[in-house]
Symmetry: C2
Subunit: 418 residues, 2 copies
C-alpha cells in the first residue's frame, strides 16, 4: 500500500504559492530577536480560523474576525513582544493599520489580511516600529524554508523551540501539501484560547469544507493541550488554502477526498499541539494523558484534561513521583461520571510500562522502576476506566497533552514583563 502521508520540509512555505518572512523592527527594544512576520499567498485563498474564547479579546482578534467575515484571507501580519490587548480604541486602530500596511506592500486589500499579536497585555503597540519596518519585511518575503524560519522566529515569545511541520498527501492523484507553524507555551489551555498557529496548504478546497476540516482537527489537537489553564486574549489558528496544488476541488465533507485532507490537517495540528505542550513554559517533560473506557469521547476528554491540568499531578511529574492517588483525585473532581472502583492507572515511557492502580486501589509496584519510567522526557499517564470489570466503562477515549510544573515556570512568570 502506498504511503498516504509523508513528512516534508519547508513549514508554511512547503505548499506551493506561499511566501513568508520575518524581521526585527524594534517592538522588543531590549532584544535582538525578530518581532514582525508576514505570510503571504500569491493567489487568492479560501480561509478558515478559530479564535480565543476569552471574553477579553485582543485588537488583532477583533480585526481578523471582521476581515474573515468580509471574505477570504490571503495574508497574515503578526508581531511578538506586544499583545495589543486591553489597549482600547487606539489598539484597534493599530491593528487595522497593521493590516493596511501589509496590504499596501503585498498589493492586497486590507480586509484580505489577518492580524496576529502576542506578548505583554495592556501596553500600546509601538506603531512607529512597524511602520518603519514593513518595507524591509515585504522585501524579505521568500518562498522557501528560510522564509518560513524567519517568520516563525518572529512570532516566538517565551518559546524555547521552533514548532512547525509540513506534510504531503495525494488527492485525486495530485500531490497536495500542508505546512504550519505555531507559537505558544504559557497561557496554553484547551478551548482554542490557546496559541498562534498559521497553516498553509495548496489544496483546492471550498471555504465551508476547510472550515469543517479545521474544526475537526482543532478538537483533536489544540483543544487537547493544556499548559497552565490560562486561556489567552490573543490566540488564533488560521488556515489558508490557495488551490495551487491543482487537486479536484474538495467541497463535500462526506467525500473520501475530504477525509484524506481532514486527516492530514489533523495530523499536522497534532504535531504542532504536541510540540507546544512539550515546550510549555518551564516544562521538562511532555505528559500525554490517555483515558479509555469512558461513557463517550467527551467524558473521556473532561477526565483526561482534569488530570493533565492538575497542579499536583504536574508537580509530581516534575519530580518523577508515581503519585497515582493524585491522578484518581483529579479524575474525581473533574465533574465527569465514572466508577472510582474500576479505575486502572498505568505510567509509561520508552523506559517501560508500570500499572500502579487497579480496581481503584494500589497495586504493589517498584518505586525504582516507576521513577525510571517517569524520568523520561516524554511520559504517559494511561487511565483505563473499564479495568477488568465486565459492564463497567464504555467506548469513550481521549488523548490530552500537557507538561509538568517546574520551578522554571514560576521563574518565567514571576516577572514576565521586565
Amino acid at each position: 500500500m502506498k504511503k498516504l502521508m509523508k513528512e516534508i520540509d519547508g513549514g508554511v512555505c512547503a505548499p506551493q504559492g506561499f511566501k513568508a518572512g520575518g524581521i526585527r523592527c524594534g517592538i522588543k527594544p531590549a532584544s535582538q530577536k525578530r518581532d514582525l512576520a508576514l505570510i503571504y499567498a500569491e493567489r487568492p485563498c479560501t480561509a478558515a480560523a478559530q479564535f480565543t474564547t476569552n471574553r477579553v479579546k485582543a485588537a488583532s482578534i477583533l480585526v481578523t474576525q471582521e476581515h474573515l467575515a468580509q471574505g477570504n484571507i490571503r495574508g497574515v501580519i503578526a508581531n511578538s513582544g506586544n499583545a495589543n490587548a486591553c489597549t482600547g480604541d487606539a489598539g484597534l486602530a493599530a491593528a487595522r493599520r497593521m493590516a493596511e500596511l501589509a496590504a499596501e506592500h503585498c498589493m492586497l486589500k486590507p480586509e484580505e489580511v489577518a492580524v496576529a499579536s502576542t506578548g505583554v497585555i495592556g501596553v500600546p503597540l509601538p506603531m512607529v516600529a512597524i511602520e518603519s519596518g514593513i518595507g524591509a519585511l515585504a522585501d524579505a518575503l521568500r518562498g522557501d524554508a528560510a522564509g518560513h524560519e524567519a517568520a516563525l522566529e518572529a512570532i516566538m515569545t517565551t518559546d524555547t523551540r521552533k514548532k512547525a511541520g509540513s506534510l504531503e498527501i495525494e488527492i485525486g492523484g495530485v500531490p497536495v501539501r500542508l505546512g504550519g507553524m505555531v507559537k505558544g507555551s504559557g497561557m496554553i489551555h484547551p478551548n482554542m484560547a490557546t496559541m498562534l498557529a498559521i497553516i498553509t496548504t495548496d489544496a483546492c478546497i471550498t471555504r465551508n469544507a476547510l472550515d469543517q476540516a479545521l474544526k475537526r482537527a482543532v478538537k483533536h489537537s489544540f483543544n487537547r493541550v493544556t499548559v497552565d489553564g490560562d486561556t489567552s486574549t490573543n490566540d488564533m489558528i488560521l488556515v489558508m488554502a490557495n488551490g495551487a496544488g491543482g487537486n479536484p476541488a474538495i467541497n463535500d465533507p462526506a467525500s473520501p477526498d475530504f477525509d484524506i485532507f481532514a486527516l492530514a490537517l489533523e495530523q499536522l495540528c497534532v504535531t504542532l499541539a504536541r510540540a507546544m505542550a512539550r515546550d510549555g513554559e518551564g516544562a521538562t517533560r511532555l505528559v500525554t494523558v490517555t483515558v479509555r473506557g469512558a461513557t463517550d469521547e467527551d467524558t473521556a476528554e473532561v477526565l483526561a484534561k482534569s488530570v493533565a491540568s492538575s497542579s499536583l499531578v504536574k508537580a509530581a511529574c516534575f519530580g518523577a513521583d508515581a503519585n497515582w492517588g493524585r491522578v484518581l483525585c483529579a479524575l474525581g473532581y473533574s465533574g465527569a461520571a465514572f466508577d472510582p472502583a474500576t479505575v486502572e492507572v498505568t505510567f509509561a515511557s520508552r523506559a517501560g510500562t508500570i500499572t500502579v492502580c487497579r480496581g481503584g486501589v494500589s497495586l504493589p509496584f517498584s518505586e525504582d522502576t516507576a521513577k525510571q519510567i517517569l524520568s523520561e522526557e516524554e511520559i504517559e499517564i494511561q487511565v483505563d476506566l473499564q479495568s477488568d470489570v465486565p459492564g463497567a466503562g464504555g467506548p469513550g477515549e481521549a488523548v490530552v497533552w500537557g507538561c509538568d510544573l517546574s520551578y522554571e515556570y514560576v521563574k518565567i512568570n514571576g516577572d514576565y514583563r521586565s
Copy 2:
C-alpha cells in the same frame, strides 16, 4: 453599643464541655510529629457537616457520612500521614475500626464518631499503630488550650502554621462560644473539597438550624479559598454543638438569635479560611481578590475565583509584578458575563493603593510603587466592573482568598510521598 463578638483563646476547647488531644502513634514512621487526634464532647451534640465534592471519596468521608445520616456526632477521630483513600474495602473497614476504637474509649456508640484522615492517597492505613495508640490518646484528652493544640498538631501535614480561632458571642443574654481548627494547604480549592476543619460550640441549636448556619458560613469562607485548584478526596468541615452554653435554643433560621450565631460561625470560618490560604503550600503572600459591580454575587464569585486561581496571576504575585493584563485575561476566560471595556483594577496592601487599569485599558502608574505594594505579605487585587460608566455593572460583590505560586510549591509537590 456592646461588642457583639470577641476573640478568645482555646480553639475547639474554648466552648464548654469539649475535650481534645493528640499523640504520635506512628502513622508517620519517619517523623516525630503527632499523627492521631481526638475531639470529644462530654454531652450529646447536634452536628452538621459538609464533605468533599470529589467523586473519589476517602473511606473516612464515606463512614462519617453514614454516621451523620444515622444521628448526631459527638466525637471525631482524625489522623494525618495517610489519607486512607483509594484503599478499597480494607480502607473502609479501617475507617470503621477507627470509629469503634474512639467510641470504646469515650463511651460512645461508633455511629456517634466522625472519622477524618489526611495524607498520602492509596497506601493502607497502619491500623496497628492506631490500635496501640488509642488508649494513650484517650488518656491525653484535656478540656483546655493544650488539648486543642495537641489535637491541631496531630492533623497537620504540610501545614506550616497552626490555624485556629475561637469567639465568644451573647445569645439571649448568655455567653456562647465557638472554636475551630483547620488543616489544609495544598489541594485546597473551592466547593468544599477543601480541607479538614473541626468546629465546636456550646451553643444550644437544633440540627436543622446548625446545618443552615454552616451552609451559609462555608459559602462565604472555605468555598472562597483557592490554593491550587485541586479538590481533595478527604476533606470535610464538621461542627458539633453541645448546648452547654445554656442559651435559649436556636431553632428558627429566621430569628435574630440565629443571625447572631450564623454570623459568628461565618466569622470563625473566614478566619480559618484566610489562614488556610495564607498557608497555601509554598505561599509567600495571601492574595485577596475582590470583585465589585457584577450582575450578582454568584457572577462576582466566579470572576474572583478565576483571578485567584490563575497560575499566571499567582506567579505574578510571587514576583510582585503588577501584571494587570493577566487579571483581565483571567476575568475573560472565567465564563462569567461582564464588559471588558469598563473594568477597573486596583492593587492594594498596607503599603498603599494603586489603580492600574480603568475602562479596560492601562492607566499610567509607577512600577516602583506597584512593586512596593505587591511586595507585602498580604495583598489585594480589587476589580471594579462598574468602573465610572453609568449603567454598567451591578450590585454583585464577592471576596476570594488565594496565594501566590512559588518555587516552593513545586518543590513540596514534586516528591510529596517520600
